[in-house]
C-alpha cells in the first residue's frame, strides 16, 4: 500500500507540470515560430496611473517631489486625449529659492501623438491648464493663493507588456508664472520626471481575443 502511495505522489506531479499555463507559448524563442504579436495599444483604450514624480524647479532653484496621476483615452490609432495632475509634496530649497510653496497643484489637459509600432510607443504632447500655488507673501501679508495659467510639454516612452499593464517613463516641462508676489512676477517653470506601472482597459473588445 505504501509503495502504491509513493508511486502516486511521484507520478502525479508530472501530470500537473504537463498542463500548459494559459498564454504559455511552447515555441517561444524559436526562430521559425509563426505567431503574431498581440497589439495591446489600440483605439478606445483607457489608461491611468499614479506615481511619485521628482522635479527640478528651473527658476526657483529647488528640487521638488510631486505626487502625480493621469487619465488618458486613445481616440484613434496614434492620438489620445490626456489629463494630468501634479500635487506638490515638498522641495529641497537653495539660498537662491525665492518662493517656497506651501501648497501647489498643477492640472493639465491636452492631446498626444504616439509613435512606433507594436507595443513599444514613444509619445509626445501639449497640454494646457492651471497651477494653484499658496505661498507666504510676507510676514505681515500672510499666505496668498494664486491661480496661474500654465502649459506643459510632455515626451516619454511606454511599453505595453500585457492587456492591462504598461511600463512608462516621461519628462514634463511645465511653464507657469506666479504673479503678484512682493517683488513682481516669478517664473515657476519645472521639469518633472515620472515613471512607473500604468494600467489600461480596452473599452472595445477585439473580435478574436486569444490572449
Amino acid at each position: 500500500m505504501v509503495n502504491y502511495s509513493a508511486l502516486f505522489f511521484i507520478i502525479f506531479p508530472f501530470f500537473n507540470f504537463a498542463q500548459e499555463l494559459p498564454g504559455y507559448e511552447p515555441n517561444w524563442g524559436r526562430r521559425d515560430r509563426q505567431t503574431e504579436t498581440p497589439q495591446f495599444f489600440t483605439p478606445r483604450l483607457l489608461k491611468a496611473s499614479a506615481t511619485i514624480s521628482p522635479g527640478i524647479m528651473l527658476n526657483n532653484h529647488a528640487s521638488s517631489i510631486n505626487l502625480s496621476g493621469f487619465l488618458e483615452y486613445i481616440i484613434e490609432d496614434a492620438y489620445s486625449l490626456r489629463g494630468d495632475v501634479f500635487q506638490f509634496i515638498d522641495a529641497n530649497y537653495t539660498t537662491k529659492s525665492l518662493i517656497e510653496p506651501i501648497f501647489q497643484n498643477r492640472l493639465f489637459f491636452g492631446a498626444f501623438k504616439h509613435f512606433g509600432k507594436n507595443n513599444l510607443k514613444l509619445y509626445s504632447g501639449l497640454q494646457m491648464g492651471t497651477t494653484i500655488t499658496t505661498y507666504n507673501q510676507s510676514w505681515f501679508a500672510g499666505n496668498r493663493t494664486y491661480v496661474s495659467p500654465s502649459f506643459a510639454i510632455k515626451s516619454g516612452i511606454s511599453y505595453y507588456v500585457w492587456k492591462y499593464f504598461n511600463f512608462f517613463a516621461d519628462f514634463t516641462y511645465v511653464n507657469s508664472i506666479l504673479r503678484g508676489t512682493s517683488f513682481g512676477s516669478h517664473r515657476m517653470d519645472e521639469l518633472i520626471f515620472s515613471a512607473g506601472l500604468g494600467f489600461q482597459v480596452p473599452l472595445k473588445k477585439k473580435r478574436s481575443e486569444s490572449i
Binding site: 495659467p149 508664472i177 503678484g180
Partner: protein, 206 residues
C-alpha cells in the same frame, strides 16, 4: 445618332449625379459639436508698464453650416503692471468663424469675429485690500487656422485684436503708493490675443 446622344446624356447626368452626391465628411458639416481647451498670450495691453499676459480657458464649438462655425469661450488671463500690481481678466464670449476656402493639406484657414464680456481686476501686490475692478464689453476679430490632426481632433491657432468698450481703469504711482483711477465714459482699449486651442469633435447635434 439620337440613341448615342441619349446614351451620352444619360452617362453625363449619372456622372454629375455621382459627383453631386459625393459624401462630405460627417465631421465637417452643420450640427457638429466640439469641446476644447485653449491657451492664450495677450500682447499690447493699454497700460505702458504692463507685461504680456498668459491665459487658460475652455470652449465649445458649434458648426452652423459647412462654411460657418462658432466658438463659445471662457478665458482667464493674468498679467503684471510693473512689479507692484497684478491684473486678472476674465473673458466670456463667442465668435463666428467663416471658412473662405477648402482645407489645404492639413490647414483650414478662417476669418473670425465676435463679441465678449469681460471683468478686470487690478490689485496691489503688497496690499490686496487696495484694488479696482470693472465690467466691460468687447468686440474681437482676426484670422486663424485649424490644423487637422485626425478627422475629429484639431489644433487651432488664432490671432485676433480685442477692443474693449467701457470705463477706463488705470493705476497711478505716487512714490511707493498705488492709486487706482476709473474714468467714467466710454474709452476704447485693446490687446492682441494669440490663442492655441485643442478641440475634439464629440458628435452631431442635428
Amino acid at each position: 445618332m439620337i440613341k448615342n446622344s441619349i446614351f451620352i446624356l444619360l452617362f453625363l447626368s449619372l456622372v454629375v449625379d455621382v459627383i453631386a452626391q459625393k459624401k462630405e465628411s460627417d465631421y465637417n458639416s452643420s450640427g457638429v459639436f466640439s469641446l476644447g481647451g485653449r491657451s492664450t498670450i495677450s500682447l499690447f495691453n493699454d497700460i505702458s508698464s504692463s507685461s504680456y499676459g498668459t491665459g487658460f480657458g475652455g470652449k465649445f464649438r458649434l458648426q452652423f453650416a459647412e462654411r460657418i462655425n462658432s466658438d463659445w469661450f471662457f478665458d482667464y488671463l493674468t498679467s503684471d503692471i510693473g512689479n507692484q500690481i497684478s491684473r486678472t481678466d476674465y473673458h466670456i464670449g463667442w465668435s463666428v468663424l467663416v471658412y473662405p476656402m477648402h482645407e489645404v493639406w492639413l490647414l483650414k484657414p478662417y476669418i473670425i469675429a465676435g463679441h465678449c464680456f469681460d471683468y478686470t481686476h487690478m490689485v496691489e501686490n503688497m496690499n490686496t485690500s487696495n484694488y479696482a475692478e470693472r465690467w466691460s464689453s468687447a468686440v474681437q476679430g482676426g484670422i486663424g487656422t485649424h490644423i487637422r490632426l485626425t478627422e475629429r481632433l484639431d489644433c487651432s491657432l488664432t490671432g485676433q485684436y480685442m477692443m474693449h468698450l467701457g470705463n477706463h481703469l488705470h493705476p497711478e504711482f505716487s512714490g511707493s503708493q498705488v492709486l487706482f483711477h476709473e474714468e467714467k465714459g466710454a474709452s476704447s482699449e485693446g490687446h492682441l490675443l494669440t490663442t492655441l486651442s485643442i478641440n475634439y469633435k464629440i458628435g452631431k447635434l442635428w
